[in-house]
């Protein structure tokens, strides 16, 4: 297997992009990534997208994007793993390059969510849950994460304010990200008093509905070293794990087993311990998710994610910054794009190009992208050479 590196990144602004279609978004991010890499041809394309069918009435987007990117007849394929579709697109592309099947591959993620009504979007998102045994009963995604929150608060004494602090911290970071959808400061009181969605989660505990795309160009590490255009970012681990997609079928409602499994495998693959990671971009689709992810990744002990957040561990100036981009919460969550947008932020930080939100220590970082209520998880570890 060949080592793989990232040589180009691009992303659109995240938000309600009324003037851009599904294909416009994907192509804009892709062209930016190709320009950044300095390539005008790619050997293959992988597009992560959760539900172009339900959000845009369009399937078969692997070919569509290859065509609109001016690259047909190269192979182009869409991969889907709910909200982890972006991470899966990168992992799939890595398999192409590492195996020697292709040299230069574009891994992109996209979702066009605002062309449909809020009710239709809620329905589309709920297809990532178990249709027959969860969605059938009227549970929503916020509802599933709310039940994780209730269980976490009951079992570990996590406070309502701890959940809110995740959103407050991520908005503080997003304020400095020009691509972020909601660049505004919020307070714990505002989160706690915002409109109720699924108790104990309120609207400000939830990531928003977003349009957007992100893309990266990958190639063999040896090829990247010869280019010497920008600092070379090596992919030192790429892992994926699954779990029951139905929340109630897990032994421990608060434990994200797929994330724990993928993270443990990633540390082993990269040959590092959690304390050797400088920062992380994680899947904070709901505030409770970031708390459970910290625990599953072994950054804090079981049950201590809320306390760690309260004490500032994960703040931009903390010991282990989490979601310097603003996370899904502030940056926005175009589901299929999210996993690649996390990689975009990490590469930006590792290259030292993050401007006002640049972290002091940024040599090695981890991205954790999660599907559904944790039925899938994809973890990548990147380091700058």
């Amino acid at each position: 297997m060949r080592d793989v590196a990232i040589i180009g990144i691009g992303m659109t602004d995240f938000g309600e992009m009324w003037n851009d279609s599904l294909r416009d978004l994907f192509v804009k991010a892709s062209l930016e990534a190709m320009d950044d890499a300095g390539v005008d041809h790619i050997d293959g394309l992988v597009a992560g997208c959760m539900s172009p069918g339900l959000f845009a009435g369009q399937e078969h987007i692997g070919s569509l994007m290859a065509d609109y990117l001016g690259q047909a007849p190269i192979p182009g394929v869409r991969v889907e793993s709910a909200c982890a579709s972006g991470g899966m697109a990168l992992r799939t592309g890595i398999a192409y390059v590492a195996s020697g099947m292709h040299n230069v591959v574009l891994c992109g993620g996209v979702e066009k969510m605002t062309d449909v009504s809020g009710a239709q979007a809620t329905y589309a998102l709920a297809t990532a849950a178990d249709q027959d045994y969860e969605a059938f009963h009227g549970v929503t995604f916020p509802g599933l994460y709310a039940m994780m929150a209730t269980a976490h608060m009951h079992k570990y004494g996590t406070k309502r304010e701890d959940l809110a602090q995740v959103a407050v911290k991520n908005h503080d970071n997003g304020l400095l990200n020009p691509h972020a959808q909601y660049r505004m400061k919020i307070t714990v009181e505002q989160v706690i008093n915002s409109v109720k969605v699924a108790d104990p989660l309120n609207i400000l505990d939830c990531s928003p509905i977003t349009d957007g795309a992100a893309a990266v160009i990958i190639c063999p590490l040896e090829m990247a070293k010869k280019m010497k255009k920008k600092p070379v970012v090596k992919i030192s681990a790429s892992t994926h794990a699954t779990d029951t997609i139905a929340l109630h079928q897990r032994d421990d409602i608060t434990w994200l087993k797929s994330t724990a499994e993928a993270a443990a495998k990633a540390y082993k693959m990269a040959g590092v311990k959690p304390e050797q990671i400088d920062f992380a971009e994680v899947h904070d689709c709901f505030t409770i998710a970031e708390i459970c992810v910290l625990e599953a990744m072994g950054i804090v002990k079981k049950g201590e994610g809320g306390k760690a957040t309260r004490e500032g561990l994960t703040a931009r100036d903390g010991k282990f910054p989490v979601n310097p981009s603003g996370g899904l919460k502030s940056k926005g969550h175009p589901v299929g794009a999210t996993g690649i947008a996390q990689i975009h932020e990490i590469v930006t930080q590792l290259r030292g190009e993050a401007g006002r939100r640049q972290l002091k220590r940024a040599r090695r970082a981890l991205a954790q992208n999660m599907g559904g209520s944790g039925g899938s998880a994809v973890v990548h570890i990147l380091e700058v050479l």
Partner: protein, 130 residues
Amino acid sequence: MITPAIVRRNTPHRYRMEAQKCAACGKVFFPPRLVCTCGSRKFKAYALPSEGKVITHTVIRTAPRGFGDEAPYCMGIVELKDGSRVLCQIADCEPHRLKVGLQVTIEFRKIQEAGESGVIAYGYKAVPER
């Protein structure tokens, strides 16, 4: 999605809580599956108990399509007496009564009316012990 064919094939477990027990390792599955995590493909019919307790809960305030008129409503994960778990609505329950450990009984109720066919889907809901 709810259509007459879907309702028909889900009837044994949705209407009667019919589950299965692995003939090799004894693990209980609800809904039934074709293969156990132990690898065995032999199962015995098994009926789930109807009493249990709420192990976590929420109140759905923003409902999905098909449930809009009912919001807010209570939902939970119920651990039945044999340790099996189901996710369902908790009916006849004021939100303030919800708590971890609440004793409930599974009852047969209407779940939703859906689709262009207007098919009524029935199934199970948990009801607090009176």
